[in-house]
């Protein structure tokens, strides 16, 4: 069983990296098509829309990419962990251990002041990744549970989930914003009239209406799938699924009291800081905690 297991892990990390590239390209394409449709609706010639659409999409993605880590840190008000505090030193220790187990460089360790039990990872690649845990997690989780949570976060880093999430969050946000502005101005009849091709105009309008919903659902599905994977991989790193299962149980019983930061970073956390969905829904960023605990216990 060991042999097959290892083969599986290696293969699926490779597959995950490949998926990451595909998702990023698809998201880029979605944003590009979206901008192109906007061009059609406001009556710009297709060639012009295309010439504007592609660079705008690429520049937007590059900008999201380069600003993401710093903006996540400031959105969550995270601060670097203090090695002179015993609890925070323990967090640094656990992150170091998980980095060793995963064979990755040690990420920078941050702490967020909050009574919630939560944690997240961010960054583009393992070399510049960060891991952050709430002070609530440090106080309420024991060593084994903290180790389980850090294994989960380290797996997000190893699977390049942090990059996918950063880019999809950025694109979903951009599409939602532009679509809203577009539809509003069309509604009040201030948008231009599409010249000539009526069918193209209609398709473009439908796409503009559907794109925000579609992009959001794709992003949510990716997010949920990667949570399950990070649970499984994290358990493989610690060789102890029970640690993470008990941590999730504590999270479930500890209802959030002061969600911090904006909703855009909610999907980065190990558990949604805003509401604890107990049932499965296509609108949730995370799979239900009960199901995650069940899967961990059946390993």
């Amino acid at each position: 069983m060991h042999m097959e297991q290892q083969l599986l892990i290696e293969d699926h990390i490779r597959k995950n990296k490949r998926d990451t590239v595909i998702i990023c390209v698809l998201m880029l394409f979605l944003l590009f098509t979206f901008i192109f449709c906007i061009g059609v609706v406001i009556g710009a010639p297709p060639i012009i829309s295309m010439m504007i659409g592609l660079p705008v999409a690429v520049i937007y993605i590059l900008a999201t990419y380069s600003m993401s880590v710093q903006s996540v840190i400031s959105a969550t008000k995270a601060r670097p962990a203090n090695p002179n505090n015993r609890e925070e030193k323990m967090l640094i220790y656990k992150v170091e251990e998980m980095a060793i187990a995963a064979g990755l460089p040690t990420p920078k360790v941050y702490v967020q002041d909050s009574h919630d039990i939560n944690a997240f990872a961010s960054g583009h690649k393992p070399e510049d990744a960060i891991i952050c845990a709430t002070t609530g997690a440090l106080q309420l989780l024991n060593k084994e549970e903290l180790e389980g949570v850090m294994g989960h976060e380290m797996s997000h880093i190893r699977n390049r989930d942090i990059l996918v999430m950063t880019i999809t969050v950025g694109i979903v946000g951009a599409i939602a914003l532009i679509a809203e502005i577009m539809l509003r101005s069309l509604w009040f009849g201030r948008g231009g009239r599409g010249k000539g091709n009526g069918i193209l105009f209609l398709i473009a309008i439908i796409f503009i209406i559907l794109a925000p919903i579609f992009s959001r659902l794709t992003y949510l599905a990716i997010s949920r799938k990667r949570e399950y994977l990070a649970d499984a991989d994290g358990a493989y790193l610690t060789r102890n699924p029970e640690g993470l299962a008990r941590a999730l149980e504590k999270i479930k019983n500890d209802l959030p009291d002061d969600p911090k930061g904006s909703k855009t970073v909610a999907s980065l956390y190990i558990a949604n800081p805003f509401k604890r969905a107990l049932s499965d829904s296509i609108w949730s960023t995370h799979p239900p905690l009960d199901e995650r605990i069940r899967r961990l216990r059946s390993m």
């Binding site: 297991q5 892990i9 290696e10 015993r86 220790y93 251990e97 358990a235 102890n240 390993m299």
Partner: protein
């Protein structure tokens, strides 16, 4: 076009594909092997770090534990064995004995309230336990890397390339006693 030219082009393309395939496998094997060496280097760093911490611990403990000469001697001996170990498996075994000796020492320390209140001692204890965990995880990573490498060079078609490159199966580190069990993971 001449059929011979067409056949020639086909052969050339096929040869090119095989060459590229070989190159990608070559890189994968080399990368995988380097990861094993790197994983060993990691273990070695942690073992050294641990051995370096012991004299400090001894210095702190000596004043308090005057009647525990045997316990202290065991730790010193185990450290000396670790320092002189050469082969990887030998180091791992020596480290395991050191872990046992330290465990006894920390258990005995429970009887000395003054010692347990000593900040220096507490810090050393934390750090030694942490290094021990790090050693366990780097050992685990080493074995994971060896397994990945062995799988790569023993399964088809990797075994063909590995044979051409003269690569042989690598040995895993035997983890003495309480080893961690691999959980069954399904995706």
């Amino acid at each position: 076009m001449d059929p011979i030219v067409i056949i020639g082009i086909i052969i050339l393309v096929v040869a090119l594909i095989i060459l590229l395939w070989f190159l990608s496998y070559y890189n994968r094997v080399i990368r995988s092997e380097n990861r094993i060496d790197n994983a060993w280097a990691q273990i070695d760093v942690q073992l050294k770090r641990r051995a370096d911490l012991i004299p400090n611990l001894m210095e702190t403990v000596r004043g308090y534990m005057k009647h525990e000469r045997e316990t202290l001697e065991n730790v010193t001996k185990a450290r000396a064995a670790l320092m002189s170990a050469k082969a990887p498996q030998e180091s791992i075994n020596a480290d395991n004995i050191l872990t046992g000796a330290l465990k006894t020492l920390f258990a005995v320390a429970e009887n000395y309230p003054d010692l347990k209140a000593n900040q220096n001692f507490l810090q050393l204890q934390d750090e030694l336990t942490h290094t021990e965990d790090k050693i366990a995880y780097s050992r685990q990573h080493f074995n994971d890397s060896v397994l990945a490498f062995n799988n790569l060079i023993e399964t088809f078609p990797g075994n063909i390339f590995a044979n051409m490159m003269g690569k042989k199966e690598r040995q895993m580190l035997q983890i003495p006693e309480a080893s961690r069990e691999v959980p069954k993971v399904s995706f």
